[in-house]
Amino acid sequence: MSTYSERRLELGGVEIALHEAGQGEPLLFLHGAGTATGFDSLLPLAEHFRLIVPHHPGYGASADDPAIRSVHDYERHYLDLLDLLEIGNFTLVGHSMGGWIAATLAISQGERISELVLAAPWGLNVPEHPTVDAFSIPDAEVAGYLTADLSIFAGKAPDPPTPEFLADRYRELTSTARVLWQHTYDPSLARWLHRIQAPTLLLWGELDRLIPVGQLPAWRSLLATADERILPGVGHLLFDESAAASAAIVEHAQRHAVR
């Protein structure tokens, strides 16, 4: 199994942490609104790709960037990062809030993206299956909303949580609030998703309590070419909960391999 090499870059005066593993076609993974469980669960992807996992500004080991106030700002941030890394075409995977960023990026950068994976993405308004307001979940219940398998936090989240751990989460929640305090969706997204031409995989945990899998058909109906994979018994943190999540990305890439 590969391991990550870590490096730090500066983008617009803000220090960014970047984890990389493997070789081959670049796969940019955009994480969700928290980094507590880390990204080791993605390492199987490094057997097939040059896996690139940046920490968003305001999350994990990256510094805060007060200029980022919207998903579009994250989109521009990642355009800067792709330039800095001199990446042309790439596979794009986004989970949760990162899925919203990935969809936004794929709308404007369609021709560069060879494959798109949206894993339990934020971003669409599906009134019949609403996204839960993450800011109002009582602290004690957050873990149960994030995962169907609480054992994924073993060794990653102190029990009981230390003030430092809580402060890390508070910082990430603050960064999230800067972007989606008002809406957990972009009212315009549905209008532009048709511009995504890359083969797209919609990946979801069947038991997602935060962003219900019931939102998947809305995405599928708006995307030109979308496969779907629903993981049984799995919640919102699907990559931590099931090895099948990363495996589904590899399978999808192999099925659509034209490169």
């Binding site: 602290d139 003030p163 430092e164 508070y170 609030a177 800067r178």
Partner: protein
């Protein structure tokens, strides 16, 4: 201006306002007052006693023992139940600095789902409880120590019945205030 964040001191300085800080250990309050005094002096403003406001939770009865027997259960209920606001709701995202968040999350009488003792409560609350002499002496000491001449009083605690509240107010007015006047003897 009022608030537990060190940053609030800077806002009070900027706006030439008075300042109060609640539910914070007294030594931390005194450091905030000293910080305020120093920063105001740097701008040529000398603080008056009324610029430093103390918030006091008071309960007075004929004797110390009686006050504690009557008042303490309600003060404990205030902290253990009425004030048991999860940090999440006291600190919306972006509302406080990291240092301040960690302080809140480590203060046992404020943190979510942590049992706090009477000592924990007294460490963060200015709880003046006892006979008229005890309460007057406690508040006078705090006022002198902080250089404050403005005391804000909480006289009803949690679900304290009305008759106890009225008794507390009446005793405070008739027995405690004259004693504080004598002790502090601040020139009008």
């Amino acid at each position: 201006m009022g608030g537990g964040s060190p940053e609030t001191v800077d806002v009070a300085v900027e706006f030439d306002a008075g300042y109060s800080v609640v539910f914070t250990p007294i030594p931390v309050q005194l450091r905030a007052f000293a910080d305020l005094r120093e920063k105001c002096a740097a701008r040529g403003r000398e603080l008056a006693g009324e610029d430093i406001m103390l918030t006091v939770m008071a309960y007075v009865a004929d004797t110390d023992a009686e006050a504690e027997r009557e008042g303490r259960p309600y003060m404990e209920r205030f902290f253990s139940w009425f004030h048991r606001v999860p940090p999440k709701y006291m600190t919306p995202p972006g509302y406080v600095t990291r240092a301040n968040f960690e302080r809140l999350a480590s203060t046992r009488a404020l943190a979510d789902a942590q049992e706090s003792s009477w000592e924990d409560m007294r460490a963060i609350g200015r709880i003046a409880i006892g006979s008229p002499d005890t309460v007057a002496e406690t508040i006078s000491h705090w006022a002198r120590e902080a250089g404050s001449s403005r005391i804000m009083l909480n006289m009803t605690h949690a679900n304290m019945p009305e008759e106890m509240t009225v008794k507390n107010l009446t005793l405070f007015a008739s027995e405690v205030i004259p004693r504080i006047r004598t002790r502090t003897a601040v020139a009008p």
